[in-house]
Protein backbone atom coordinates (compact mmCIF):
# COMPACT_ATOMS: atom_id res chain seq x y z
CA UNK A 1 0.00 0.00 0.00
CA UNK A 2 2.72 2.44 1.08
CA UNK A 3 4.79 1.24 -1.81
CA UNK A 4 2.08 2.10 -4.33
CA UNK A 5 1.60 5.54 -2.73
CA UNK A 6 5.30 6.28 -3.14
CA UNK A 7 5.23 5.13 -6.70
CA UNK A 8 2.25 7.36 -7.39
CA UNK A 9 4.00 10.34 -5.82
CA UNK A 10 7.11 9.77 -7.88
CA UNK A 11 5.00 9.62 -11.01
CA UNK A 12 3.26 12.90 -10.17
CA UNK A 13 6.58 14.61 -9.48
CA UNK A 14 8.08 13.26 -12.66
CA UNK A 15 5.17 14.46 -14.77
CA UNK A 16 5.40 17.89 -13.12
CA UNK A 17 9.06 18.12 -14.01
CA UNK A 18 8.32 17.09 -17.56
CA UNK A 19 5.51 19.62 -17.95
CA UNK A 20 7.72 22.34 -16.50
CA UNK A 21 10.44 21.47 -18.96
CA UNK A 22 7.99 21.72 -21.84
CA UNK A 23 6.59 24.97 -20.49
CA UNK A 24 10.06 26.46 -20.64
CA UNK A 25 10.58 25.37 -24.19
CA UNK A 26 7.25 26.74 -25.38
CA UNK A 27 7.83 30.23 -23.99
CA UNK A 28 8.12 32.78 -26.79
CA UNK A 29 11.66 33.97 -27.34
CA UNK A 30 10.46 37.53 -27.60
CA UNK A 31 8.73 39.15 -24.64
CA UNK A 32 7.05 41.71 -26.88
CA UNK A 33 3.55 40.43 -27.75
CA UNK A 34 3.11 42.89 -30.64
CA UNK A 35 6.31 41.73 -32.29
CA UNK A 36 5.37 38.12 -31.63
CA UNK A 37 1.98 38.65 -33.30
CA UNK A 38 3.59 40.26 -36.34
CA UNK A 39 6.12 37.44 -36.52
CA UNK A 40 3.30 34.88 -36.46
CA UNK A 41 1.29 36.68 -39.13
CA UNK A 42 4.34 36.74 -41.42
CA UNK A 43 5.39 33.15 -40.82
CA UNK A 44 1.80 31.96 -41.37
CA UNK A 45 2.31 33.01 -45.02
CA UNK A 46 5.47 30.93 -45.36
CA UNK A 47 5.77 27.24 -46.11
CA UNK A 48 8.04 25.13 -43.97
CA UNK A 49 10.31 23.27 -46.36
CA UNK A 50 10.90 20.39 -43.99
CA UNK A 51 7.24 19.49 -43.50
CA UNK A 52 5.79 21.03 -46.61
CA UNK A 53 2.14 21.13 -45.66
CA UNK A 54 2.72 23.24 -42.58
CA UNK A 55 3.44 26.92 -42.26
CA UNK A 56 6.59 28.11 -40.55
CA UNK A 57 4.34 29.50 -37.82
CA UNK A 58 2.85 26.04 -37.17
CA UNK A 59 5.80 23.78 -37.62
CA UNK A 60 7.96 22.35 -34.88
CA UNK A 61 10.76 21.44 -37.27
CA UNK A 62 14.08 22.87 -36.17
CA UNK A 63 14.44 24.88 -39.33
CA UNK A 64 11.05 26.49 -38.71
CA UNK A 65 12.05 27.36 -35.14
CA UNK A 66 15.25 28.96 -36.47
CA UNK A 67 13.38 30.84 -39.16
CA UNK A 68 10.86 32.21 -36.65
CA UNK A 69 13.82 33.47 -34.63
CA UNK A 70 15.29 34.97 -37.78
CA UNK A 71 12.01 36.81 -38.50
CA UNK A 72 11.90 38.07 -34.91
CA UNK A 73 15.39 39.50 -35.23
CA UNK A 74 14.63 41.09 -38.57
CA UNK A 75 11.50 42.72 -37.10
CA UNK A 76 13.52 43.98 -34.15
CA UNK A 77 15.88 45.60 -36.64
CA UNK A 78 12.83 47.38 -38.05
CA UNK A 79 12.68 45.55 -41.38
CA UNK A 80 9.42 45.59 -43.31
CA UNK A 81 7.26 42.57 -44.15
CA UNK A 82 8.34 42.87 -47.75
CA UNK A 83 12.02 42.80 -46.85
CA UNK A 84 11.43 39.63 -44.83
CA UNK A 85 9.48 37.97 -47.65
CA UNK A 86 12.26 38.90 -50.08
CA UNK A 87 14.83 37.45 -47.69
CA UNK A 88 12.94 34.14 -47.61
CA UNK A 89 12.32 33.89 -51.35
CA UNK A 90 15.97 34.72 -52.05
CA UNK A 91 16.90 31.59 -50.13
CA UNK A 92 14.09 29.13 -50.67
CA UNK A 93 12.40 30.39 -53.84
CA UNK A 94 8.76 31.23 -54.49
CA UNK A 95 7.89 27.81 -53.16
CA UNK A 96 8.02 29.14 -49.58
CA UNK A 97 5.19 31.54 -50.29
CA UNK A 98 1.73 30.13 -49.79
CA UNK A 99 0.59 32.88 -52.15
CA UNK A 100 3.16 32.80 -54.96
CA UNK A 101 3.57 35.91 -57.14
CA UNK A 102 1.84 36.09 -60.50
CA UNK A 103 4.36 35.40 -63.26
CA UNK A 104 4.66 33.32 -66.40
CA UNK A 105 5.57 30.13 -64.50
CA UNK A 106 2.73 30.48 -62.01
CA UNK A 107 0.16 31.69 -64.53
CA UNK A 108 -1.54 28.29 -64.87
CA UNK A 109 -1.73 28.05 -61.09
CA UNK A 110 -3.52 31.37 -60.72
CA UNK A 111 -5.63 31.43 -63.89
CA UNK A 112 -6.29 27.69 -64.26
CA UNK A 113 -9.20 27.35 -61.81
CA UNK A 114 -10.93 30.45 -63.25
CA UNK A 115 -10.50 29.19 -66.81
CA UNK A 116 -11.93 25.81 -65.84
CA UNK A 117 -14.90 27.48 -64.14
CA UNK A 118 -15.64 29.67 -67.16
CA UNK A 119 -15.26 26.69 -69.52
CA UNK A 120 -17.66 24.68 -67.38
CA UNK A 121 -20.20 27.51 -67.32
CA UNK A 122 -19.96 28.02 -71.09
CA UNK A 123 -20.53 24.31 -71.64
CA UNK A 124 -23.47 24.32 -69.27
CA UNK A 125 -25.07 27.31 -71.03
CA UNK A 126 -24.53 25.73 -74.45
CA UNK A 127 -26.09 22.45 -73.41
CA UNK A 128 -29.05 24.14 -71.72
CA UNK A 129 -29.69 26.34 -74.75
CA UNK A 130 -29.60 23.38 -77.11
CA UNK A 131 -32.00 21.53 -74.89
CA UNK A 132 -34.39 24.48 -74.74
CA UNK A 133 -34.49 24.46 -78.53
CA UNK A 134 -35.40 20.77 -78.66
CA UNK A 135 -39.06 19.88 -79.09
CA UNK A 136 -40.83 19.30 -75.82
CA UNK A 137 -41.59 15.66 -76.58
CA UNK A 138 -37.88 14.73 -76.57
CA UNK A 139 -38.11 14.73 -72.80
CA UNK A 140 -41.25 12.63 -72.63
CA UNK A 141 -40.36 9.18 -71.30
CA UNK A 142 -43.53 7.72 -72.86
CA UNK A 143 -42.46 8.75 -76.32
CA UNK A 144 -42.38 5.52 -78.32
CA UNK A 145 -39.28 6.29 -80.37
CA UNK A 146 -37.09 3.96 -78.36
CA UNK A 147 -36.00 1.97 -81.40
CA UNK A 148 -32.92 4.05 -82.10
CA UNK A 149 -32.47 5.06 -78.49
CA UNK A 150 -29.71 2.80 -77.14
CA UNK A 151 -30.61 3.70 -73.58
CA UNK A 152 -34.21 2.64 -73.78
CA UNK A 153 -35.11 -0.46 -71.81
CA UNK A 154 -35.95 -3.54 -73.92
CA UNK A 155 -39.57 -3.45 -72.74
CA UNK A 156 -40.00 0.03 -74.23
CA UNK A 157 -38.52 -1.06 -77.53
CA UNK A 158 -41.01 -3.85 -77.90
CA UNK A 159 -43.84 -1.44 -77.15
CA UNK A 160 -43.20 0.56 -80.32
Amino acid sequence: MVNSMVRWLVLVCASLVVSLAYANEAAPASADPVLEARMLSITAELRCLVCQNQTIADSHAELAVDLRQQVREMLQKGQTDKQIMDYMTARYGDFVLYRPPFKSTTMLLWVGPGVMLVAGLVMLVLILRRRSRMPQDRFDPEEPEGVDDPYARPSERTLS
Binding site: L67, T89, A90, Y92, F95
Partner: protein, 181 residues
Protein backbone atom coordinates in the same frame (compact mmCIF):
# COMPACT_ATOMS: atom_id res chain seq x y z
CA UNK B 1 -18.08 11.94 -85.96
CA UNK B 2 -21.00 12.29 -83.63
CA UNK B 3 -20.76 8.63 -82.73
CA UNK B 4 -17.24 9.16 -81.44
CA UNK B 5 -18.39 11.63 -78.80
CA UNK B 6 -18.35 8.93 -76.18
CA UNK B 7 -14.55 8.99 -76.53
CA UNK B 8 -14.29 12.50 -75.12
CA UNK B 9 -14.54 11.51 -71.42
CA UNK B 10 -12.11 8.67 -72.12
CA UNK B 11 -9.61 11.11 -73.60
CA UNK B 12 -9.96 13.43 -70.61
CA UNK B 13 -9.50 10.47 -68.30
CA UNK B 14 -6.36 9.33 -70.12
CA UNK B 15 -5.01 12.88 -69.94
CA UNK B 16 -5.57 12.96 -66.18
CA UNK B 17 -3.95 9.57 -65.72
CA UNK B 18 -0.98 10.87 -67.68
CA UNK B 19 -0.55 13.85 -65.36
CA UNK B 20 -0.97 11.74 -62.22
CA UNK B 21 1.45 9.12 -63.52
CA UNK B 22 4.06 11.80 -64.14
CA UNK B 23 3.39 13.12 -60.66
CA UNK B 24 4.30 9.75 -59.16
CA UNK B 25 7.89 10.28 -60.25
CA UNK B 26 8.26 13.89 -59.16
CA UNK B 27 9.86 14.53 -55.81
CA UNK B 28 8.10 17.40 -54.00
CA UNK B 29 11.12 17.69 -51.71
CA UNK B 30 13.30 18.81 -54.58
CA UNK B 31 12.53 22.47 -54.59
CA UNK B 32 14.53 24.29 -57.28
CA UNK B 33 16.94 26.59 -55.50
CA UNK B 34 16.81 30.27 -56.41
CA UNK B 35 20.52 30.38 -55.60
CA UNK B 36 21.60 28.59 -58.78
CA UNK B 37 23.68 30.98 -60.91
CA UNK B 38 23.77 33.48 -58.05
CA UNK B 39 26.87 34.36 -56.04
CA UNK B 40 27.38 32.02 -53.09
CA UNK B 41 26.36 33.85 -49.90
CA UNK B 42 29.34 35.19 -47.99
CA UNK B 43 30.27 33.58 -44.70
CA UNK B 44 33.05 33.54 -42.19
CA UNK B 45 33.15 30.45 -40.00
CA UNK B 46 35.43 28.64 -37.60
CA UNK B 47 37.09 25.51 -38.88
CA UNK B 48 35.71 22.47 -37.08
CA UNK B 49 38.98 21.14 -35.70
CA UNK B 50 40.71 24.56 -35.44
CA UNK B 51 38.39 26.90 -33.49
CA UNK B 52 40.80 29.83 -33.77
CA UNK B 53 41.00 29.71 -37.57
CA UNK B 54 38.24 31.29 -39.59
CA UNK B 55 37.43 30.44 -43.14
CA UNK B 56 35.69 32.83 -45.52
CA UNK B 57 33.88 32.30 -48.76
CA UNK B 58 36.33 34.60 -50.52
CA UNK B 59 39.21 32.30 -49.56
CA UNK B 60 37.94 30.02 -52.31
CA UNK B 61 37.65 32.60 -55.11
CA UNK B 62 39.48 31.38 -58.18
CA UNK B 63 38.80 27.73 -57.44
CA UNK B 64 36.00 25.37 -58.37
CA UNK B 65 34.90 23.73 -55.15
CA UNK B 66 32.15 21.70 -53.54
CA UNK B 67 30.44 22.62 -50.29
CA UNK B 68 28.79 19.60 -48.70
CA UNK B 69 26.38 20.18 -45.81
CA UNK B 70 26.55 17.41 -43.23
CA UNK B 71 25.74 16.74 -39.60
CA UNK B 72 26.41 13.93 -37.20
CA UNK B 73 22.66 13.62 -36.52
CA UNK B 74 21.85 13.25 -40.21
CA UNK B 75 21.07 9.70 -41.21
CA UNK B 76 21.10 10.22 -44.97
CA UNK B 77 24.62 11.69 -44.61
CA UNK B 78 25.89 8.28 -43.54
CA UNK B 79 24.51 6.86 -46.75
CA UNK B 80 26.21 9.54 -48.82
CA UNK B 81 29.48 9.75 -46.96
CA UNK B 82 31.33 6.72 -48.40
CA UNK B 83 30.61 8.08 -51.89
CA UNK B 84 32.13 11.43 -50.99
CA UNK B 85 35.17 9.78 -49.44
CA UNK B 86 35.63 7.80 -52.63
CA UNK B 87 35.03 10.86 -54.81
CA UNK B 88 37.55 12.89 -52.81
CA UNK B 89 40.23 10.32 -53.67
CA UNK B 90 39.87 11.31 -57.33
CA UNK B 91 41.19 14.74 -56.30
CA UNK B 92 39.06 16.48 -58.89
CA UNK B 93 38.29 19.48 -56.72
CA UNK B 94 38.51 20.58 -53.10
CA UNK B 95 35.52 19.50 -51.02
CA UNK B 96 34.62 21.48 -47.94
CA UNK B 97 32.18 20.33 -45.30
CA UNK B 98 29.60 22.53 -43.64
CA UNK B 99 28.94 20.99 -40.26
CA UNK B 100 25.35 22.15 -39.91
CA UNK B 101 23.69 22.64 -36.51
CA UNK B 102 25.98 20.19 -34.85
CA UNK B 103 28.20 19.98 -31.79
CA UNK B 104 31.91 20.29 -32.46
CA UNK B 105 32.85 17.07 -30.69
CA UNK B 106 30.03 15.10 -32.30
CA UNK B 107 31.03 16.36 -35.74
CA UNK B 108 34.69 15.50 -35.24
CA UNK B 109 33.88 12.07 -33.88
CA UNK B 110 31.60 11.43 -36.85
CA UNK B 111 34.38 12.31 -39.30
CA UNK B 112 36.73 10.08 -37.32
CA UNK B 113 34.35 7.16 -37.64
CA UNK B 114 33.21 7.51 -41.24
CA UNK B 115 36.28 9.10 -42.83
CA UNK B 116 37.04 12.68 -43.76
CA UNK B 117 36.73 13.66 -47.43
CA UNK B 118 36.99 17.38 -46.67
CA UNK B 119 39.88 19.81 -47.01
CA UNK B 120 38.33 21.40 -43.96
CA UNK B 121 34.97 21.44 -42.23
CA UNK B 122 33.30 24.69 -41.33
CA UNK B 123 31.45 24.85 -38.07
CA UNK B 124 27.95 26.28 -38.52
CA UNK B 125 26.68 25.66 -35.03
CA UNK B 126 23.59 27.90 -35.10
CA UNK B 127 22.72 27.11 -38.73
CA UNK B 128 22.85 30.73 -39.90
CA UNK B 129 25.02 29.99 -42.90
CA UNK B 130 22.72 27.06 -43.64
CA UNK B 131 19.78 29.48 -43.77
CA UNK B 132 21.71 31.80 -46.11
CA UNK B 133 22.31 28.84 -48.41
CA UNK B 134 18.65 27.81 -48.22
CA UNK B 135 19.48 24.47 -46.63
CA UNK B 136 16.35 22.63 -45.57
CA UNK B 137 17.27 18.97 -45.73
CA UNK B 138 20.73 17.66 -44.96
CA UNK B 139 22.72 16.48 -46.88
CA UNK B 140 22.90 19.13 -49.54
CA UNK B 141 25.82 20.05 -51.75
CA UNK B 142 26.70 23.21 -53.65
CA UNK B 143 29.08 23.29 -56.57
CA UNK B 144 30.67 26.73 -56.68
CA UNK B 145 32.70 28.01 -59.63
CA UNK B 146 35.88 30.06 -59.70
CA UNK B 147 33.92 33.31 -59.66
CA UNK B 148 32.14 32.26 -56.49
CA UNK B 149 28.84 31.52 -58.24
CA UNK B 150 26.71 28.51 -57.25
CA UNK B 151 26.30 26.40 -60.37
CA UNK B 152 24.66 23.25 -59.09
CA UNK B 153 22.86 22.10 -55.99
CA UNK B 154 22.37 18.51 -54.99
CA UNK B 155 19.41 18.16 -52.64
CA UNK B 156 19.60 15.04 -50.55
CA UNK B 157 22.38 12.48 -50.74
CA UNK B 158 24.54 12.09 -53.83
CA UNK B 159 24.01 8.84 -55.65
CA UNK B 160 26.73 7.15 -57.74
CA UNK B 161 24.70 8.12 -60.84
CA UNK B 162 24.42 11.76 -59.77
CA UNK B 163 28.18 11.92 -59.25
CA UNK B 164 28.92 10.26 -62.60
CA UNK B 165 26.33 11.95 -64.79
CA UNK B 166 25.95 15.38 -63.20
CA UNK B 167 28.76 16.31 -60.85
CA UNK B 168 31.84 15.09 -62.72
CA UNK B 169 30.91 16.52 -66.16
CA UNK B 170 29.96 19.84 -64.59
CA UNK B 171 33.19 20.04 -62.60
CA UNK B 172 35.16 19.40 -65.79
CA UNK B 173 33.19 22.10 -67.60
CA UNK B 174 33.63 24.63 -64.79
CA UNK B 175 37.36 23.95 -64.59
CA UNK B 176 37.61 24.56 -68.32
CA UNK B 177 35.69 27.83 -67.91
CA UNK B 178 38.03 28.86 -65.09
CA UNK B 179 41.04 28.01 -67.25
CA UNK B 180 39.81 30.13 -70.16
CA UNK B 181 38.69 33.07 -68.09
Amino acid sequence: MKNLRFLVPLAIFIGMVGFLFKGLYLDPREVPSPLIDKPAPAFSLQILDKPDTTFKRDDMLGKVWLLNVFASWCVACREEHPLLVEFSRMKMLPIYGLNYKDERMAGLKWLGTFGNPYEASLYDHDGRVGIDYGVYGVPESFLIDAKGVIRYKQIGPFTPEAIQTKLIPLVQQLKKEAGNG
